[in-house]
Symmetry: C2
Subunit: 136 residues, 2 copies
DNA sequence: GCTTGACATTCGAGCGGCTCTAACGTTTAG
DNA sequence: CTAAACGTTAGAGCCGCTCGAATGTCAAGC
């Protein structure tokens, strides 16, 4: 699998993936004769984990460390510090989900105001130029 | 109310608040004789809105624009572009909340492995039958 | 063959949004 | 009166991408 396909599958960009590689978060993948990167399913798996950890706002370096140990089956060697980090981040995540629920209510209110006082009868066209196919 | 108290109330930092002010997102607040910033409830309200919009990942500049119009009661003058932005961001938010739920399962699994002292089970074998949209 | 277009490569610069430091002034509790 | 806790400024630094330029590779169509 090449970088573009991988990026799309994981909802990121080729640039970002190369950036992870440069930073040493991702092992250098195999290359085909044309020097294109060729990603294995294992590579994809690691990147998937990394992205998950990043979504918890775990810094790149520590995400890499965590991913590496666990992939090597050496979870028992993960430092207490890192364990703690994961735990606090998970707690934070839960809090954030709650916050977002609240936020959405406020934004719904705001959006309501916009619609009410807004464009007379011509309702806002939601997908105007933006055409994001979530395929869900 | 001074900057520290405001920051704490809104879960941010004095630095960030001053940064917003420098960038023109926040009007320069009143100053007391000692040149300390004194925030009114209106100031706090605006900042609260701004922070909400930022949590939707709406760029600073556009968040400011939106906040300004709405505060001035000129919601009807908000551009369609901005309306659309708010809407797409709200949709994105909903998606993200779902993603986070899924993410949390994966991270719970990972955390479980860590706690188990490294029982080498395969990473992230969580099925992604995580597709019901629970009410927010 | 040639051309066009989508995809890949490298390197490096640029950017958004904070975050922190330094050097300093003010307020308040003991 | 002193020490801490808070405030002020200007500016540098940082993280995590993001983008651009110059170039290479490959498939499809004329």
């Amino acid at each position: 699998m090449r970088i573009g396909a991988l990026a799309e599958q994981l909802g990121t960009t080729p640039h970002a993936i190369r950036f992870y590689e440069r930073r040493g978060l991702l092992p250098a993948p195999a290359r085909s004769d044309n020097r294109y990167r060729e990603y294995s399913e294992a590579d994809a798996e690691r990147l998937r984990l990394l992205i998950g950890l990043r979504q918890l706002d775990i810094p790149l370096e520590q995400a890499a460390e965590l991913a590496t140990m666990c992939a090597a089956g050496r979870c028992d060697e993960v430092s207490d510090e890192l364990r703690g980090l994961l735990t606090t981040k998970r707690v934070e995540l839960a809090r954030r989900v709650d916050e977002m629920r609240f936020l959405d209510r406020r934004m719904a209110h705001l959006a309501g105001q916009l619609e009410a006082g807004g464009t007379p009868r011509t309702l806002i066209n939601l997908r105007k130029e933006e055409e994001h196919a979530p395929a869900m």
